[in-house]
Amino acid sequence: MKCKKCGTKASVHMRQHKLALCKEHYLEWIPEQTERFIKKYEMFHRGEKILVAVSGGKDSLSLWDILVRLGYQADGLYIGLGIDVGIGYSDESHRLSEKFASERGLRLHVVDVAKEYGQPIPVMAEVSHRGQGRPCAVCGLAKRHIMNRIARDLGYDVLATGHNLDDEAAVLFGNTLQWAGSFLARQSPVLRESPGLARKVKPLCRFYEREMAAYALLRGIEYIYEECPFADGATSIYYKELLNRLETDKPGAKLIFYLRFLDARESGLFAPAPEKQIVLHPCPKCGQPTSTDDLCSFCRMIETINLKMEKEN
């Protein structure tokens, strides 16, 4: 296969776009497209300060790389989850994130969950009995809370995450199987800021996961290849496999699934019923919005954990 732009041997073939590109042109094409999506979904502009949530994986490091190449002011945030079963996942992902930042002279903020909140994520999950033996629910809650806190406290205009199309399509698929209306209504490349909540954007949401891996590889980005040990057997991976089976038979199927959803959402298909609009209050402890009158779910979880740990000691 030949590169569509220069006719030399192609390195990447994107069947859904009927497009093959050589290394050089692929590494130009990805940032060009990213810029197009940033503008199309009105994510942010060059005067704004961006905080990239960095996990050490291919997507978030590539996102940071692309934003910097495009000339945006982007700093990183690494959250140390304290997941050290087996391969020392957190240590290694932290090391790779630091290495990426220092080699490029970029600024990386680091928050260590155990240092700031007392316990690493797996212990929090165990003590609080949330999420059927998998710490992912606790992990997600903590990450959302911390990302938002740092973005607000340090004056960032927008929080960017490395979700790719496969991530988004898998979430969409799960929510569609359940007709989870309120989740469908909120799934978007951009969530506008609201009192107490930073704007959130997903600039890679239209790239296939395979394309992001190809970008990281061709760009020579050193990322953590091992999975978080708790991802093994996750439903999201199962959904990705199902969608990829569909994609193999019908190139473009998962892209269309996601894009048509965005169109449908835009036209109001998933708008909440007027009487269902929830009112949010600021959490008395951290100030982040919550639907209860009391502490937000993160602060409530931390309080419960601390109480239980005190009793045990």
């Binding site: 296969m1 192609a10 990447v12 992990c139 290849y225």
Partner: protein
């Protein structure tokens, strides 16, 4: 007469002369889920795999 493919801890041996795409089908690996490299260079589905070579497959799907 074999081609070796490596995906994480798994190794597969197949006969040479097939395209990457047919080879992946043969060993039951979804083409969407991997990138294939030969001596560090990425190769595409239409590439013919030759006798004696080692193809490293990079898994692209992550979860959580």
């Amino acid at each position: 007469m074999t081609v070796k493919l490596i995906l994480r801890e798994k190794e597969f041996e197949v006969r040479p002369g097939m395209t990457l795409l047919s080879t992946l089908e043969k060993i039951n690996v979804m083409p969407e889920a991997v990138l294939a490299t030969r001596e560090g260079e990425m190769i595409l589905e239409d590439e013919i795999l030759r006798d004696g070579e080692v193809i490293k497959l990079v898994s692209v799907i992550s979860g959580g």
